[in-house]
């Protein structure tokens, strides 16, 4: 059994809330190598033959099971591209926890580009949680460029929670989805950038089947001199419902570019977008200060609430 050091344990706790080995299927990747893996009767994880990543096969009818596939990088200067493909059978109900933590104390950049593809069968329900986290005080950058591709079969549902709150210097996130009839996609993205970080996050959701629907909500906070670009696009190719929302708090010398866009290619496509950028409202700070919080504490509470 692979022995994790303290930094690696901390990273696993941050990205996957793991304090011990989880139940169910898992695959831990540490510094570019497989560290530990477990399969169950219904969930099989196999390494790709060319070594570029893993395939996760979830048998039809698998319910109340989970898969954890966290990745940590604690050595400076590592760069990797990993392809993880999820093949989810029909009538499943599973939780998938991914996420990547980088601790870079060195001078070279560390980078993990994870490409996740989901092929979700009919009537299946997936909850996907992905957290990204960076730490370490070296000059080397912590870079994460995840690509998530989601193919939802008829009447399937995917709920995605994408969180990147701290320590990632540069990220370029791309999420692509296409939905068949009656499929539903819910995305809750939470981003916070600080220092001179940059975060680009693009969604491209195609509602192809009748009565498909997507609700993509991004909340972000840009502090100090950081930059964010949020590019949320929904395309309605059938009678469908789509909603996107980017709601951002801007602070200090932060910069935010929100580009929500809608494309309707069918007369019964009902699409809505909302976008708002603003600083923390003064009366919110004052209210919490009248409860005895300092201005800084009030600011933290407001941001925590906003990103919850």
């Amino acid at each position: 059994m692979f022995k994790f050091d303290e930094i690696q344990k901390r990273l696993f706790a941050e990205v996957a809330n793991l304090h011990q080995v989880p139940e169910g299927a898992y695959n831990f990747r540490v510094n570019g190598q497989l560290a530990s893996r477990n399969n169950t009767a219904n969930i099989e994880i196999v390494s790709k033959e060319d070594g570029s990543g893993i395939d996760i096969h979830i048998k039809p009818g698998t319910v109340n099971e989970s898969v954890h596939i966290p990745v940590v990088l604690s050595a400076s200067g590592l760069k990797e591209v990993v392809y993880n493909d999820f093949f989810v059978g029909e009538n499943c109900d599973v939780v998938i926890v991914a996420g990547c933590g980088i601790d870079n104390c060195g001078v070279q950049d560390s980078q993990h580009d994870g490409v996740h593809r989901f092929f979700v069968g009919k009537n299946s329900k997936i909850k996907y949680v992905e957290k990204h986290y960076g730490s370490g005080d070296g000059a080397g950058k912590r870079i994460l460029n995840p690509v998530t591709e989601v193919h939802l079969g008829e009447n399937s549902t995917m709920e995605m929670e994408m969180v990147q709150i701290k320590g990632v210097d540069s990220t370029n996130r791309k999420t692509l989805a296409n939905l068949k009839a009656d499929a539903k996609l819910f995305v809750r993205e939470r981003l916070m950038t600080h220092g001179v970080q940059t975060a680009l996050s693009a969604y491209h959701v195609s509602l192809d089947g009748e009565n498909s629907g997507a609700d993509v909500v991004s909340r972000s906070v840009a502090k100090e001199k950081s930059f964010q670009k949020l590019d949320l696009k929904i395309i309605g190719n059938a009678p469908c419902h789509g909603h996107t929302e980017c709601d951002s708090i801007i602070m200090d010398d932060g910069k935010i570019l929100a580009v929500p866009s809608l494309e309707a290619n069918h007369v019964d496509a009902a699409l809505v977008h909302e976008a708002a950028i603003g600083k923390i409202a003064g009366d919110q700070l004052i209210k919490l200060m009248t409860l005895g919080l300092t201005e800084k504490e009030a600011e933290e509470q407001i941001i925590n609430g906003f990103l919850t």
């Binding site: 009366d283 004052i286 209210k287 005895g292 509470q301 407001i302 906003f306």
Partner: protein, 245 residues
């Protein structure tokens, strides 16, 4: 005890200075329910905000139980025991009713404690505790939650800035009940309500009338109220509702 000595508050409007509050002197004793009234624009709300530290007076001194708090900021005053309920309750994104009550109580709060505070303002905790303090709540609900945060703080001095503003008549009837109960359980604290509603003035021990940024009258409610009934300082919410209530 709260004392305001020679308080003035000026603002600049274009090239000229406007006096909102002029050389105002005021003492609020402990164990008193005091209502500050006066016509619109008389400086009532500004006075409340000056006491809470949200506005800084141009001149004058403020003392709380003998301590000069003029230079203290909002947080320091809050921690010295001043609570302030906003005229327009503040909305948040992601902060829930329970979170706000916990911050107000400054301690770990059980569901039962939160339930007590919400019950005092006529809300069932089960329905509200996990609601976000945002515009999905009605004006009346937000107002009650605002008052619950003040109750949770249990401070020596609570200031309510026009609690009746922006709520419907039905909620107003309930609001009166909440203030009546606060009056009954005042113990050694004091309550200042900024309002020109006759039914709130009726609950007062003492009434202070502000006109043109100065105290024009101050005294026991039974003395002052008959003098101001029917003026801008003591208005009825709705004649029909008042008759039926």
């Amino acid at each position: 005890m709260l004392e305001l000595k020679n308080i003035s508050f000026k603002v600049t409007d274009g090239n000229k200075q406007v006096d909102i509050i002029q050389n105002l002197n005021l003492t609020v004793q402990s164990k008193k329910f005091v209502v500050v009234t006066g016509p619109n624009g008389s400086g009532k709300s500004t006075l409340a905000r000056i006491i809470a530290g949200i506005e800084k007076p141009t001149e004058g001194k403020i003392f709380l139980n003998g301590e000069d708090i003029t230079e203290k900021n909002i947080t320091e005053r809050a921690n010295l025991g001043i609570s302030f309920a906003f005229q327009q309750p503040v909305k948040f994104k992601g902060i829930k009713v329970f979170d706000l009550l916990k911050l107000a109580a400054k301690k770990k709060l059980s569901f039962a404690n939160a339930c007590d505070y919400l019950a005092e303002v006529g809300l069932c905790a089960r329905d509200y505790i996990n609601r976000e303090v945002n515009s999905s709540l009605s004006g009346g609900e937000l107002k009650r939650i605002e008052i619950a945060t003040i109750i949770a703080r249990k401070t020596k001095l609570s200031i309510f800035d026009e609690p009746e503003a922006g709520i419907d008549l039905w909620s107003f009837q309930n609001l009166i009940g909440i203030f009546e109960s606060m009056r009954k359980n005042i113990s050694d604290s004091s309550i200042i309500v900024i309002s020109h509603q006759e039914r709130i003035l009726n609950i007062a021990d003492e009434i202070i009338v502000i006109e043109g940024g100065k105290v024009s009258r101050q005294g026991a409610a039974e003395e002052i109220l008959p003098q101001i009934i029917g003026t801008d300082s003591a208005v009825q919410s709705c004649k029909k509702m008042t008759r039926e209530a």
